[in-house]
C-alpha cells in the first residue's frame, strides 16, 4: 500500500496531516497514562489511611495495569477510526480543488516550447527597440547638423540682402548696374589715358 505523502495538503495547512494526527495521538496517550498514574497514587494514598487493610500496592498496580491495558486497546481503535475520518474528510484537499496561490498554473499552462517562443519574442522586441533607438539618435544628430548648416547659409543670404540695403540707402540704386557703369567708365578712362599718352608722344 503506497503512502500518500499529502504534500499539497501540507502546502495549504503548513503541516502534514499525518504529522498532526501523530502529535495528537501522542498527546492523548500521554494524558491517559498520566491520569492513570494519578488515579493509582490517589488510591495508594487513601490506602495509607487504612493501616489494617490487606490490599497491597502490588495489587493496586496490577489493577491499574489491567484498566490501562483495556483503555489503551479501545483508545487505539477509536483513535484509528478518528484519524481515518479526519484524513479523508477534514485534513484533505479534494482532487479537483486548486489552491488560489497556484492559479497561474491553471491560467497559463505553457509548454516548454510555448514558453521558449515567448522568451524569443521578447528578445526580438528588445533588439528591435534598440535598433529604433539608435536610428532615432542618428536622425536627431543630423537634425542638429542641419540647424548649424542652415544658420550659416542664412547668414550668407542675410549678408547679400544687407549689401542691397546699403546700396539702396545710399541712392546708388542697383549696385550691379553701378559696378557695371563704373567698370565701363574706368575702361573709358583707360582708353582716354591711352589716347592722351599717344598724343603726348606725338607732340614730343
Amino acid at each position: 500500500m503506497s503512502v500518500n505523502p499529502m504534500a499539497y495538503e501540507a502546502q495549504f495547512f503548513g503541516f502534514t496531516p499525518q504529522t498532526c494526527m501523530l502529535r495528537i495521538y501522542i498527546a492523548f496517550q500521554d494524558y491517559l497514562f498520566e491520569m492513570m498514574l494519578v488515579v493509582e497514587s490517589v488510591i495508594l494514598k487513601k490506602l495509607d489511611g487504612f493501616p489494617g487493610c490487606k490490599i497491597s500496592p502490588f495489587q493496586i498496580r496490577k489493577s491499574t495495569e489491567k484498566f490501562l491495558l483495556f483503555m489503551k486497546e479501545h483508545f487505539d481503535k477509536l483513535f484509528s477510526k478518528m484519524e481515518e475520518v479526519l484524513l479523508q474528510l477534514v485534513l484533505n484537499i479534494p482532487k479537483n480543488v486548486l489552491l488560489p496561490e497556484d492559479k497561474v498554473h491553471e491560467q497559463y499552462p505553457y509548454s516548454k516550447a510555448q514558453f521558449q517562443a515567448l522568451q524569443d519574442e521578447i528578445h526580438q522586441l528588445q533588439q528591435q527597440y534598440r535598433a529604433e533607438a539608435s536610428a532615432g539618435q542618428a536622425l536627431r544628430a543630423e537634425l542638429e547638423e542641419q540647424k548649424a548648416v542652415q544658420a550659416e547659409l542664412e547668414k550668407i543670404l542675410q549678408w547679400f540682402d544687407g549689401l542691397d540695403n546699403i546700396c539702396r540707402e545710399h541712392g546708388t540704386g542697383n549696385l550691379e548696374e553701378s559696378f557695371a557703369f563704373l567698370t565701363q567708365n574706368s575702361k573709358k578712362l583707360q582708353d582716354v589715358l591711352k589716347d592722351v599718352e599717344e598724343k603726348s608722344k606725338k607732340i614730343k
Partner: protein, 169 residues
C-alpha cells in the same frame, strides 16, 4: 417548515464542524468503554473497601481526561489557525464543485512549475516592449520628416545663394 431568517443550514457540514463532531464522538466512545463498572471491576478490592471514594476518583479521572483532550485539540486548532483554514478550504471546495477534472498539482520539478509562474510577468514585459517600440517608431517617423524637410530647406537656401552670386558677377 418555511424559510427561516438568517443563514441557511448547510447541506454538508463544514470541516470545522466535522472536526469537532469527530473528536466529541471519540471521547464519548472512549468514556463509554472506560465505564465506571469496568473501572470498579479492575480495582475490585479497593472498590469493596471504599465505593464512594472509588466513584469520586473515577469521576475525576474521566473529567480530567476529557478536559485534557479538549484542551489539546484547542491548542492544535489555535496553533495551526485551523478554524480559518477549514472555512477557507470549505469555500474552495464549494467553488470547485462544478469542476470534474483533477486540478493541477506540483510536478515535483521546480523548473517545470516555475514556467507558469513566470508567464504573467513575461506577458507584461512583452506588452510593455511592444508599446515602447511603437512609440519609438512613431517618434522616429516624425523626426525623419523633420530631417527631410531640413534637407529641402538647405537645398533651397543653397539655390538662393547661387542666384545672388550670379547676379553679382
Amino acid at each position: 417548515a418555511g424559510d427561516e431568517d438568517g443563514p441557511s443550514v448547510q447541506a454538508t457540514p463544514g470541516r470545522a464542524e466535522v472536526f469537532a463532531t469527530v473528536v466529541d464522538t471519540f471521547l464519548e466512545k472512549l468514556v463509554a468503554a472506560g465505564s465506571y463498572q469496568k473501572f470498579a471491576n479492575c480495582y475490585r478490592c479497593f472498590y469493596k473497601l471504599q465505593p464512594e471514594v472509588t466513584r469520586s476518583i473515577y469521576d475525576q479521572f474521566i473529567s480530567q481526561l476529557q478536559t485534557s483532550v479538549k484542551d489539546e485539540i484547542q491548542e492544535v486548532k489555535n496553533e495551526g489557525n485551523l478554524e480559518l483554514l477549514f472555512n477557507s478550504l470549505d469555500k474552495m471546495v464549494e467553488e470547485a464543485k462544478n469542476q470534474e477534472e483533477p486540478a493541477w498539482r506540483p510536478s515535483g520539478i521546480p523548473e517545470e512549475d516555475i514556467r507558469s509562474a513566470m508567464v504573467p510577468y513575461l506577458l507584461k514585459h512583452r506588452s510593455y516592449l511592444r508599446k515602447i517600440l511603437k512609440e519609438k517608431e512613431e517618434e522616429n517617423r516624425k523626426v525623419a520628416e523633420s530631417v527631410l524637410a531640413g534637407r529641402d530647406r538647405i537645398g533651397e537656401l543653397q539655390q538662393l545663394i547661387q542666384a545672388r552670386k550670379h547676379a553679382w558677377q
